[in-house]
Amino acid sequence: MSPPTPSPAEIAALRQRYPECFRPARRAHVLAGLAVAGLVALAAYAMVRLDFSAARLLAGLGRLGEFSLLMLPPEAGGRGWVFLHALAETLGIAFIGTLAAACLAFPVAFLAARNVVPNPFAHFAVRRGLDVVRSVDVLIWALIWINVVGLGPFAGALAIACSDFGALGKLFSEAVETVDGKAGEGVSASGGAELHRIRFGIVPAVLPVLGSQVLYLFESNTRSATIIGIVGAGGIGQYLTELIRVLELRQVAFLILMILVTVAGIDAVSGRLRRALIGGAAR
């Protein structure tokens, strides 16, 4: 059964009665147009300011085409074992860095959570501290730690631990703040102390969420750990930089393939673990 079609007279009557529904949304259109125009104008200014030139772009694209031909077929150049060792180092850096960051961030997150430390000054200070740590890029942390423990993967692990400490601290404290307060109230009502409330009222509820966040960051850290070698902090990035500089493009392609496969593998494993961790709770 089709709905009745309104006659032209009925439409005219409706139009007269509800003019605002029939008027084209001019204001919204103008606003949207202005926003797009602003974005494009800023982009054009950025292109001028950053020396974009079609000639350079075309020449570079041509050279990139040549490079991609030179990358085929990927080969290890007899250094397969060295590369594998570097890859293991990369994974080690990511793992140790993430673990250390999680261990550091766990207690700090409770200090930064409003429902654990009610004092606004305390959690404000902790939060801004975490923001400062987080706003420094992992490569800069690596440069700083190289000054302390020398070149090598240990500096990389420390760098990842530092930059993730800030990220995990923030994520953890948000998880702690969104937890259902009733369990904690129950513990307090039955005579539990503050620490009991945290241990039995909050920790069991947030642990799966925290675990899945740690796994997620481990995935992202395997990516970061591949580049940390650019500044000399160990891992596969060191070889990648060297080989790109001397244009050994076949080996570069081999290394990139290795990274792609490893990252895909880690993603698959950690994705399954994450689903197992939060699957029961979230769905």
């Binding site: 974005l39 800023l42 982009a43 200014y45 950025a46 292109m47 300011r49 950053l50 020396d51 974009f52 030139s53 350079r56 772009l57 020449a59 570079g60 694209l61 050279r63 990139l64 490079f67 180092e89 994974l91 080690g92 850096i93 793992f95 140790i96 673990l99 923001d131 400062v132 706003s135 420094v136 890029d137 490569l139 800069i140 440069l143 700083i144 000054n147 302390v148 423990v149 020398g150 090598g152 993967p153 240990f154 692990a157 420390l158 990516r223 970061s224 591949t226 580049i227 650019i230 500044v231 160990g234 990648l240 790109i244 500089r245 570069v252 990139i256 990274i259 792609l260 990252v263 895909a264």
Partner: protein, 285 residues
Amino acid sequence: MSPDRAAALAGAYDGAAAATRRRAWLGLAVLVVLTALAARAAEVRPWLLAANLGKFTAYIAQILPPLTLGHLRGDLAEWYWGWPKWLALLGETLLMAYLGTLLGAVGGFLLCFSAAANVTQGRTVRFLVRRGLEFGRTVPEIVFALIFVIAFGLGPMVGVLAIAIHSTGALGKLFSEVVENIDMKPVESLTAAGAGRIEILRFAVLPQVLSNFVSYGLLRFEINVRGAGVMGFVGAGGIGQELLVAIRNFYYADVSAILVLVMLTVMAIDLGTERLRHRLLGGLR
């Protein structure tokens, strides 16, 4: 409850608790083994860290500027002696992040519909687009920058291109997940009314996804500001080069001056985009 039944229930409870505990111990053992392996691979030397931790605090103390309350103005002026150059480079960094994010968002927008399972043109197209996005996402932007520097020459354009490709990969995936989660009824009704693909995307899909797209774009901009800050490490423009030179050559006060500038910028951008995103997503609910 009969004593037998109570005993059976208690036994079952003990069994379940023991199983949980066994699993926890097993997980812990796996974690310890993995940690030992990783520590070996990453050459972790705690005693070296303990011995040299003093160096870390000393380094922090060294890069702090010699500010005195008496000549605060003069000391600040000396600390930020290079501010015109640094501010210009900071502006360049922000523009790189902006342009890279915008190009990446446009790329991700164009590709996400082909990668989404519900509105894709075909299995082959979807497979190819997804692998392409995965490639762009997995190869870190700084690796793209390393290769592009050789192809295009030094300069901020390279940084923008590297950020754009990486952002296309990252945003394309997030966008396609948003598209996969839409309500399909408008799409079905437009299909029934005989609309073409472009019309369906414009009038059935886009209104549902646009605010999420913008929110993800802003989030990416935040990430890209950090990324653009270190592009200079490989000669791809921005403030990174100055920072690298300052750290490598032990210009201590310069290190802290540039670092503080970068940190303040990143934190300001974080705060700004967070506000914008909350307003954007909050207005809809």
